[in-house]
Symmetry: none
Subunit: 284 residues, 2 copies
DNA sequence: CTGATTTTTGTTAAAAAGTTACAAGAAGGT
DNA sequence: ACCTTCTTGTAACTTTTTAACAAAAATCAG
């Protein structure tokens, strides 16, 4: 795939002049991508068609195509990696690491999430009479955020931080209600109990949690997110961001399902805020 | 850096025809890098020089140079681009787009954030007698999350969703208190007023908001995040994720500043939860 | 070692791609 | 409605790349 490696491998298959071209490119690929075929030919002390032949031998269509491949190989192929913050990291390092770890976790989450389940959950949500979002600890703020999104849709939405309120709310739920339970580990006892209560009242229980956890087993549908554990600081960080992104996705799916006219409604909801805000023009 | 991102940002600065070119490229960048300027012009229904001008506007030397940049952006490593969800996107598309937009926004945020300010805010927080986190609407859940992180540090932390409580809390603040106000736009009147109250009581006010906003002007320190506006769904999405990441960073900075022994404390806080959870072994 | 054959390389010319200059047209302001 | 400014396209031109062919080098059989 990487063209530079390919050049190195092919090296013996090249003719003498072609090898000269290879040397020049390997010595300074950054220069090569900004040179014309004429310049590169001169640098390698060969003729222009030789450079062209060199490119073709590497299964590219010609010199411009070769440059494209080279450019791609040279683009820093350092995808975001989960790097842990170290004891003696300064602000610059830890800021960078946290941003990158977060992005890396999102990438992992993206690959692990099951589109089918998302679709089914969106289905359920659009048909629900009442939607509840419950979480505890760090997941409480995720549920809180979900409330903030879904209440705009003009559907009855419920959110409680208090375990007792959660239980009572589920006790009163019925067949057409959807209860979304959020927990990274899926091992919080009281949330598992909430799931049981909700199910015994015929509500549909959706879990945003990790697969095969006790909570997952009590749910009708599980949206599992395989996010690397947040061991760094003994605080949930990336898991929570992934959960929030999932909420965004569900909310988006919801609005798309409801069609254009519904979206105008959302705009109106947003516009209502105008009175509570300083006008943009007031700024300077 | 990423040219696709750049195109999206510049979009409004483009002329009508240039925007046509932008659309075509964003819709299918893979095709673009393999097209000649003539083909691309035809696809966009503009003239060739227009395509050329489009490239120049993005600070490239011309079309070939632009293609090089584009190829690099498309190479693995920085594939994330802010792409908007379309009316007829299926679950697969919108899931992908939202994940990628979120990552792209984080990348933008990372580059825009000022490390020095972060460091100063961490300083302030470690020295604070009391820390308050206030936000309204979508930012309320961010403040909520901040509460969840900082209360573990054994510092008095305050969080209210209620405007009156926020005001009263600030009224009682004193010189050694830090008030962190979160608002994407920075134009929410009541939050600006909270900032004023806090300052008139000698508290230090830190804003997580956009630069030059009315709120920013009332703050002692502003942590600005330049995140592309979430116009898609009339709901705050990426901005909020960036804010949360910033909270993570501040929390991390805080714990690092406090040293190793302090971190053992955090572990103890986390371990306290054990009783409320199903043991990992109970699972199967 | 010689001559035939194949392979490699360079020269020349043509084609393709990209760029410049300029003029026509659209948009915006007075 | 007129002037100015900004956009856009046409046409000419330059650069870059590729094709065709021929010369040179290398390989091999006898």
């Amino acid at each position: 795939m990487n063209i530079l490696e390919k050049i190195t491998q092919h090296k013996l298959a090249f003719s003498k002049s072609e090898r000269k071209v290879a040397e020049v490119i390997l010595a300074n690929p950054q220069v090569a991508i900004h040179s014309s075929i004429a310049t590169l030919a001169k640098m390698s002390d060969v003729s222009e068609p030789t450079v062209n032949r060199f490119c073709r031998r590497l299964d590219t269509k010609g010199y411009p195509d070769f440059k494209l491949h080279l450019a791609q190989s040279l683009a820093n192929g350092t995808p975001y990696v989960n790097r842990h913050v170290e004891e003696d990291d300064g602000p610059e390092e830890y800021t960078k690491k946290i941003f990158e770890s977060t992005m890396a976790s999102l990438e992992v989450a993206r690959q692990s999430v099951d589109i089918n389940t998302i679709n089914r959950v969106v289905d359920l949500l659009t048909q629900a009479q009442k939607i509840s979002f419950f979480g505890l600890g760090a997941s409480a703020s995720v549920a809180h955020d979900a409330l903030n999104k879904f209440f705009r849709f003009n559907v009855p939405v419920v959110y409680f931080e208090d375990i007792l309120m959660q239980r009572m709310s589920c006790m009163n739920s019925s067949e057409d209600d959807v209860v979304v339970l959020i927990s990274h580990t899926g091992r919080t006892k009281s949330l598992v109990e909430v799931a049981q209560i909700a199910r015994s009242n015929d509500a549909t229980v959706v879990g945003i949690t990790s697969q095969n956890s006790p909570l997952a087993k009590e749910c009708n549908l599980v949206l599992s997110l395989e996010v690397p554990e947040d061991t760094d600081m003994y605080m949930p960080m990336a898991s929570r961001i992934a959960q929030l992104t999932l909420i965004d996705i569900l909310a988006t799916g919801f609005t798309l399902r409801r069609g254009t006219k519904f979206r105008e409604n959302l705009k109106r909801v947003k516009d209502t805020l105008r009175g509570s805000r300083y006008d943009k023009r007031n700024e300077q």
